[in-house]
């Protein structure tokens, strides 16, 4: 999508043909800076420190991280070390492990001297496929928005609430939850997005607002506390969020606080959709609440917060009373019973084993 009128993806090869360039998302929305990653260690660091974030983009970055490793040393031992290093960066996003498994599968069968070129090709393929997946998600989600628009008085926008950032900068392009919204906007359907701030890291206020603004989509930022109230008063027509991992039963792990919005949507009859590319599905587990590991991040993400100070510098300020401890679980699990439907690259289905098996019989059977 576009930034200042120029089209970008979130990850691309540098002009030198081997380093991997990403947008430093910890600097957005106040600074647009790119970082060139020159090693698997740097790729792992970028994932860990959330220079890149968003399940699909994490997967793509990890794939390129493997390419950066085997470029230097393509031995089995070096490949295994790179896979371990990159696999240990973030515990919740399943795309990470999906992308690394795919790299291992492709590379381990090849002679050492062919691995570097194959790794770059495979990482590029993962990126291109992600764009295609997100585009398809957008096309399948678009009719859901169109239907609501058709029921509203002409010109009244469809009010869509989203949590965190599942936009194009969380993927390689288009996004997951935001793809249908971009397509609706581009198709001339009036949409307005309620953007959850998404504490503690404010990906909504910082990133979703940034990219919606960049594309000209009307939106309003709200604190995470506000969505239930808006739903009680008929000001939300639908919710669309992304996910970091979805179980074979349709339970959905997503940014902390998603579960609360799903409860409010359920209580107020507001449709609650989750947009996901199929690599986000973990076919090996069913009970998300029991089996999806939830990352506990540093307390400082809660106690401190950074933003643009009046002197034009991005500054960190402490917001919690000195001496008080903080806890920081990064994700929660929304049970399938609260999800109206899953928007995938193959269509929309019920959040259930049956629903998923209908769209993905190949994968569901293999897992069963």
């Amino acid at each position: 999508m576009k930034i200042n009128g120029q089209h970008y993806r979130t990850i691309w090869l540098a002009q030198d043909g081997w380093r991997v360039v990403v947008i430093d998302q910890t600097r957005l929305p106040f600074r647009f800076e790119t970082v060139a990653l020159g090693s698997a260690e740097q790729a792992a660091g970028a994932i860990r420190s959330m220079v890149v974030r968003g399940a699909p983009l994490i997967g793509a970055t990890a794939a390129y991280g493997v390419a950066l490793a085997v470029r230097v040393d393509a031995s089995d031992a070096a490949l295994a070390a790179a896979l371990d290093l990159l696999g240990a960066t973030r515990p919740t996003a399943v795309n990470l492990h999906w992308a690394l498994s795919r790299m291992r599968r492709v590379l381990s069968g090849l002679p050492v001297e062919m691995r570097a070129e194959a790794a770059y090709a495979e990482a590029a393929a993962i990126c291109d496929e992600d764009v295609a997946l997100c585009h398809a998600i957008g096309e399948y989600g678009l009719p859901l928005i169109r239907e609501i628009a058709a029921r509203k008085p002409a010109g009244q926008p469809v009010n869509i609430l989203t949590h965190c950032n599942a936009g194009w900068i969380a993927t390689v392009d288009w996004g997951t939850a935001l793809a249908p919204i971009y397509m609706a906007h581009d198709a001339g359907i009036p949409v307005h997005v309620w953007v959850d701030e998404t504490r503690p890291r404010n990906q909504g206020a910082a990133l979703t607002a940034y990219e919606l603004g960049g594309h000209g989509v009307p939106h309003t930022v709200i604190v995470d506390n506000a969505g239930g109230h808006l739903m009680q008063h008929g000001q939300v027509d639908m919710v669309i969020v992304g996910t970091d991992r979805t179980t074979a039963n349709g339970d959905v792990a997503n940014k902390i606080g998603t579960y609360l919005k799903a409860l409010a949507a359920h209580d107020n009859g507001v449709p609650f959709y989750v947009a996901l590319p199929s690599p986000t599905i973990d076919w090996s587990i069913r009970d998300g609440l029991r089996d999806i590991p939830i990352e506990e991040r540093a307390a400082r993400e809660v106690t401190h917060l950074s933003g643009l100070a009046e002197d034009g510098e991005v500054r960190s300020v402490r917001v919690v009373a000195p001496g008080s401890a903080a806890a920081n679980p990064a994700f929660d699990v929304t049970p399938a019973r609260l999800v109206t439907g899953l928007i995938t690259e193959r269509g929309v289905c019920a959040a259930s084993a049956t629903g998923l098996a209908t769209l993905f019989p190949d994968m569901a059977n293999k897992a069963a």
Copy 2:
């Protein structure tokens, strides 16, 4: 309660015997500063700008604001003007209007020359009564905590989640939601409080954490998004919150986001209590969702946030992407069906017309 070992109330007369001193809560937790209010205009300004906040303390400050007005001019016209001025400061808290009605009732029947002294006496009585009410709430809430403690393995703390600040600094002393917690802690019952940050103004992270820390009560600050996840994993034994207005049916207006926690508590079988002094009950309305006006505050409270910068200054930083709009509804309404019980100065009752009428037959009958 205590700050640095010294006992404070939140509002008291200055040594000059007529000005009214309050703690500037917009400066907490990083600065402890007091402000002397010398006129009704200054009292109204302190309420409006949230130098004082919390429904009971707003009522007490408004009462003293009337005293400050009639001290200068005790005519009917001046009294009416002061009541209007103070009544227009905040739309949601019912204590404000309760306190002002009481002042009007007492003063309008008196000769002009007796009004100033009577106004100060009545404002002081309102403060003393608030302390007594909060103390009684604490005593009625304490057994609820004790019962949960008795069911837990010895030494394991009762985990109590609270939202916003309904502690002693929201009242004149003791607090509402926190009164039972202070009493449990003082009684040697191990308690641990999950403190919701409470965006956008962070009263939890700043004020609740500050006062719990000051009193030595173990607590952990979490973002508003986290409570549902903690409840799903059995880490919350009960929720206690305050309220700005409760309807005759038991619907509860409280800080934005309370409704989301009530939904999560309901979904996970966690008891959800609301602590309130009876002046917070609005006997004139039943349907809180329809009839309680919800204050919409400035967008800047969402887009900007202040905290302690590394240079030791309290600084404001922008956290929302430049150019993006923000909305800021300040309260939401939790329907009575989600409330396990109301903790009042006369005991604990069901959140229903019947429950309230049992404890407050005098007031309920008058309203009916």
